[in-house]
């Protein structure tokens, strides 16, 4: 009997990159520890639906332990990772523990970034975790409540002013959905304000929204947003954000609800690796997704900076993270057999973004869709890729319900609702 302990693979992060790497190693002679500070895998593409009260948090999340319960070579550890100590071959956890690894997969993803304006974080929350989503939901719903109770017209207008900074997919989704909430969902519910009169403004510093799409689809997306009631401002940077509003170019815009969708940066864990990072803090990996000079360490998902064959960067989207996760599993398998790992090749399935009710854009090779058809396509793909039969059915039901009734299921404000507390996170 072979009593050599199996090689220990430590995977940091239970998102698409880490979870797909873990699952791909199910039949390999390794023992795996998956470390995450959350107890759940999150279906991030639908996070904006939790933020806008369309879905409950558990609809788009599944406990990591449950997903992996039958994969006997995995242990799940609930902890944050503070640092990689590559020389010693171990990671340091925030609960005081450490984990020694033979192979390390870093898939701790990205967080929102304010690019040197960290003081904006308190006034313009971003959307990366379930807690972020519940915090945004709370702010948005409370803003209408404050407007209803406010008698000063200027203050009321500021409560009914919603700004989303950043015209990428998240910003577009949030803006389109907020406009729908204001115009349809809240209809008839207030007595002193007309929610349909709320202003929803999407601000993009660059020349167009959805810059990763072809220009004509960007233009179509903007038209669809405007039809939903969103005011789109492009080519103008936000130069300041505080509790009272934001500065657009040199005009101050009073607004009590500013949401941040303007940028992400890699998880700070990358810094402890002591290797070159790109401008967004991502690890510039080898072609096989290995960390330069550290043959036992790999990176998957949003934390990895790597180019496609045509030189463009691999995008920070779920399909790319899954592909990287599987590739890293293969690379570890190759290492175990003392073989060389092949280079990672990103398979681009196309690009799609939802805008709001019956509006989306789709770009698959030469296929370009927008409007209702693109929306159905988007819906189908997203429900299909949700993990778990239960979630799929519940989400489908919630959406069918929302579609016909214009209602949003999860309009519940948690925690203290006392005024003055509005800018806090979710309680």
């Amino acid at each position: 009997m072979d009593v050599t302990p199996l090689p220990h693979v430590v995977v940091v992060g239970g998102g698409f990159g880490g979870l797909w790497a873990t699952r791909a190693l199910a039949r390999d002679p390794v023992r795996i520890t998956l470390v995450d500070r959350s107890n759940h895998h999150l279906f991030q593409p639908l996070l904006y639906q939790v933020a806008t009260a369309g879905l409950s948090a558990p609809d788009i999340a599944a406990p990591l332990r449950h997903i992996l319960r039958r994969q006997r070579n995995v242990e799940v550890r609930l902890a944050g990772v503070e640092a990689v100590e590559a020389d010693a071959g171990r990671i340091r956890l925030d609960d005081g523990g450490t984990l020694d690894y033979d192979y390390l997969v870093l898939a701790s993803g990205a967080t929102h970034a304010y690019f040197g304006n960290e003081q904006w974080a308190a006034h313009a929350p971003g959307l990366k975790t379930l807690d972020d989503a519940l915090g945004i939901r709370r702010r948005v719903l409370l803003a209408f409540e404050r407007a209803e109770a406010e008698t000063d017209p200027a203050k009321r207008a500021a409560w009914l002013d919603f700004a989303i900074i950043g015209g990428g997919p998240t910003g577009v989704e949030l803006a389109g959905t907020l406009a729908e909430i204001a115009r349809h969902t809240l209809r008839d519910e207030f007595r002193n304000i007309d929610p349909a009169g709320a202003r929803v403004r999407l601000v993009e510093a660059g020349p167009r929204v959805l810059a990763s799409f072809p220009e004509d689809l960007s233009a179509r997306a903007q038209r669809q947003l405007e039809r939903l009631g969103v005011e789109v401002v492009t080519g103008t940077p936000v130069t300041a954000i505080d509790a009272e509003g934001y500065r657009l170019g040199d005009r101050f815009m009073p607004s009590r609800t500013v949401l941040w969708a303007a940028g992400v940066a890699a998880s700070p864990l990358a810094k402890s690796l002591d290797v070159p990072l790109d401008r967004a803090g991502r690890v510039v990996v080898e072609p096989d997704l290995g960390v330069p000079g550290q043959p036992r360490v790999f990176v998957a998902g949003d934390l990895a900076a790597i180019a496609r064959e045509d030189g463009r960067p691999v995008p920070g989207v779920a399909p790319a993270a899954k592909q990287m996760g599987r590739h890293v599993a293969g690379a570890i398998r190759a290492r175990l057999r003392s073989q060389a790992a092949p280079a990672f090749r990103y398979r681009d399935w196309g690009n799609l973004a939802t805008i709001g009710r019956m509006a989306a854009v789709v770009h698959f090779g030469r296929l370009k869709l927008s409007g209702l058809l693109a929306w159905w396509f988007w819906l189908l793909v997203h429900i299909l890729f949700l993990i778990g039969f239960r979630n799929r059915v519940v989400v489908m039901f919630n959406w069918t319900w929302a579609y016909w009734s214009y209602q949003r299921a999860a309009r519940i404000i948690f925690g203290d609702t006392t005024p003055g507390d509005d800018r806090d996170g979710p309680a």
Copy 2:
């Protein structure tokens, strides 16, 4: 044209009492302001399911504004009420505002009470609001995580020790469901602990559980609990609770998760009325549910202390609160017509309590059921009375799913999971 302003009815609390009073006044010549510090009506009978991760918070809650959107004589105000100033005919809100009333309906309900041991609150949370439920869910799920990471056997055992103090319906529901989670839901998910070995103890100071039921049903409920894996201790009071455990009689029981289901007291708002209260702080009302000496103030729901015809108190259950709410509406209508209001008569539809998977007790007149049949009956009644078609369908689906899979949909831990933070509320 009559330009006299309509009489203003202020209803405090959007629970069963307040909401049913409000709805019953839909066609009366009054304008109503419903004040609640939450934005939602809560279907409290299923709150334990949110606490035990079977349902999402939005499954059992509906926005008050949405419920009342078509009732044009109602305005909803999101605010807490600090005091009733009966002499001035107004209430003071926690957002600095006041509301003048012609008629006042107090339906602010009950909260959990520690009967002079308020220091226990930090260690043994109770279950009254959605935030309470999410806090309990968090503690329970984190306890298994801490046990999995703990290597000291005594400390691990304390993490796997769950105590529920109080053998009324809430305590019985929590204990039965926790036992199911430990024995079934978490099966195969941990590598270092066996969740099925967790201890779930239900402690009742009185002689039997479910004291509001006939003795034989109490005995059957206890047997069903024991079959589910709950250790039931009766006739022994808890004499101390701290972060490490609790004292049962004179034995200290190490336990990191103690839940409080041992008692409720009326909302503190009653004190500001300056009228006699009963031991639990409830207002001893007139036969028509009016406050003695204050002809324009009524009480509905858990805040009212009133006896049935046979002298037993009207119980603090949802059907009683709804009946009182409707009765108060009728009493106000009578006052408006300068008529006398009839006395409130509680119509007792029976008593039912669920215990856990396929176990419940039902007492309707001479009908006594227990076990599977009682459980189906309980299920049917509770789904039927849920507000809203959507909630009903989602809850039914979640339960069908849970029934066949033993899975619980909402096992998501929100907020910071760093150790040391475990005793905090939900983040």
